[in-house]
Amino acid sequence: METLITPGNDAWVAVLNLLLDGLLGLLLLWLAWRTLASADLFRAIVLFIAFGLVLAMIWARLDAADIALAEAAIGAGVTGALLLAALARLHPDRPGTQARPRGSDAS
């Protein structure tokens, strides 16, 4: 990347970094807002998982690889699965949660 941009290397890289970080930060805020404001619980959980993945990317950008790994694996992955399992318990008959694999199988 850096070799492609010849004039004023460091300045360009700094601007690109700033843009990327700003984009990630805004995306995180937007995802958080959408998660909280979402009326549909299933959508809220999916957004929460996306939020966790973006947060993991931000941790990685901050050179905190340990936290990024933990966030992706536990924060986004396992917590998302637990929330989906809880949602399936709340609405066992709701399409789109528990019944999805079964429905696709039966039809």
Binding site: A39, D66, V78, A86, R89
Partner: protein, 236 residues
């Protein structure tokens, strides 16, 4: 009536059934409170010294005595091992709470998707390998018991979703042993070093590396079992 209107839109029923939001006055008060919190947070962040003093130098200085080469693992498993032990215990307590609430939902025989089952035959060994890699990596690079346990636990969740079930023989005490192993081994080693006159959880530097690896391996198994059992949501 919001109820009658919302039934036409499936999926938003629950949200519409919630009580109406706060009135304009309450909203204004909330907004002011939030603004106050925002100002407080901004002041706190801006008043931080540009370079946080932290304990990084102290950790680096004592790293050779910790038995591992990665500072994060050294802090988690050695310097602040007590915190990690309690974290494991908290995870275990959470599972106990779930188990005491309800038995596991009757295993309504899974009509698992054959695609998922086939994919899992490829994925499961790979994920177990990744978990082992993360565990081993923890000694000198980012990784460790929690990440490895999460990957291994996710393997269990995937296998459960594709219709695999624990055999009856493993359902009883072997499962409980796997759940308890991390906390038990961690505490046992922590107590055992006290026989040599050291304080609780202060490993002798010569054998610290091996002890940490043993604790992390046991913790990985326990974390994986706990997370997968939490997903099942009830006593088996």
């Amino acid at each position: 009536m919001p109820d009658t209107r919302s039934t036409s839109v499936p999926g938003t029923v629950r949200a519409r059934a919630l009580p109406a939001g706060p009135g304009p006055t309450a909203r204004l008060i909330l907004l002011l409170l939030l603004a106050a919190v925002l100002v407080g947070l901004a002041t706190a962040v801006l008043s931080l010294p540009p370079v946080a003093p932290g304990l990084g130098a102290v950790v680096t200085e004592h790293l050779p005595a910790s038995g591992v080469e990665h500072p994060v693992t050294a802090v988690l498993l050695n310097f602040r091992g007590y915190d990690t032990l309690l974290e494991l215990a908290v995870l275990w307590l959470a599972l106990l709470a779930v188990w005491s609430l309800t038995p596991a939902p009757l295993a309504h025989e899974p009509t698992a998707n054959p695609m998922l089952a086939a994919l899992n035959q490829l994925l499961a060994p790979l994920m177990i390998l990744v978990a082992g890699y993360l565990l081993w990596n923890g000694g000198h690079a980012p990784g460790g018991a929690f990440q490895a346990g999460a990957v291994l636990g996710a393997t269990g969740v995937l296998l459960h979703l594709s219709g695999r079930r624990l055999p009856r023989a493993v359902d009883g005490w072997p499962l409980r042993l796997a759940l308890l192993l991390g906390v038990a081994l961690f505490s046992l080693i922590g107590l055992a070093v006290m026989a040599g006159g050291a304080p609780f959880l202060t490993y002798p530097p010569a054998s610290a590396g091996g002890l940490i690896l043993a604790i992390e391996a046991a913790a990985t198994l326990s974390i994986a079992a706990t997370l997968a059992a939490l997903f099942l949501g009830g006593r088996p």
